[in-house]
Assembly symmetry: C2
Homo-oligomer: 150 residues x 2
């Protein structure tokens, strides 16, 4: 956690992104690191946890981080929590909370309230169209001999 916090503070001082840092650890060794790069890299998905996961996967040559844990300087937002699930991490260690993030001007708590709503009640409108045509992709997937599940 010391390293995650160090990354967060260094990120503010270098003006490269928001005050967030994260590391992925396996067996006591850091195997991935990330600090927020949203503004510096023009990438709204470049949160510390996402970058730490991508770094660990690249270093370990896998898309599955079972056996690893993540340390993050702030409670993961819904996007990052989703990334943590998809990466199959074993455990989350977080320092600050989504309320702390809100007090610093970030939308994490708002996103949790939005994601809990039904789509019709969310601030970003969504509409369904073309489902029948799109189901063909799933049908091909189910029948594909070369598919790699994840």
């Amino acid at each position: 956690m010391d390293r995650a916090i160090e990354l967060a503070i260094a990120n503010v001082r270098s003006a490269r992104g928001g005050p967030f840092g994260a590391v992925v650890v396996r067996g006591g060794q850091v195997v991935g690191e990330g600090a927020n790069r949203v503004t510096a890299s023009n990438d709204p998905t470049a949160h510390a946890e996402v970058l730490a996961i991508r770094d660990a996967c690249a270093r370990l040559g896998t898309f599955v981080l079972s056996g690893c844990e993540i340390y993050t300087s702030c409670e993961p937002c819904p996007m990052c929590l989703g990334a943590i699930y998809w990466a199959r991490l074993d455990r989350i260690h977080f320092a600050c909370t989504q309320a702390d993030a809100r007090d610093a001007g970030f939308d994490d708590a708002f996103l949790y309230s939005e994601i809990r709503r039904d789509p019709a009640g969310r601030s970003i409108a969504s509409a369904s169209e073309g489902r029948e045509r799109a189901l063909a992709a799933f049908e091909e997937w189910k029948q594909s001999a070369s598919r790699i599940s994840y």
Copy 2:
């Protein structure tokens, strides 16, 4: 939506990832595209929507996609929905549903149920530690003259 579905089907046939495609559109023009590349690129965050958002931001040179809409062959998972909020997209058009994705073996519906739970009830354990030390990053952020908010 035709293009998003086309990307999804082509992705299955080329065995480069899951059966998902997405495009970001501004004023009737496609400004970003993505197809799932989780397994091909060893990146569990490489969902179609995330890649389409990253592509659009790179092409447009911005981290804010206000004025743009996303078309995706399947309802966004919580990670992708979070990415859509952080990117400030105006509207979501989706084809298949999270139930369709579940029937094809994907965890989207499970993730929605997990994210709605309190952290203590989730299948990935989480613990808080070091909050007092980590708050220093937020304090520096609030006082930073060079910060770029997002």
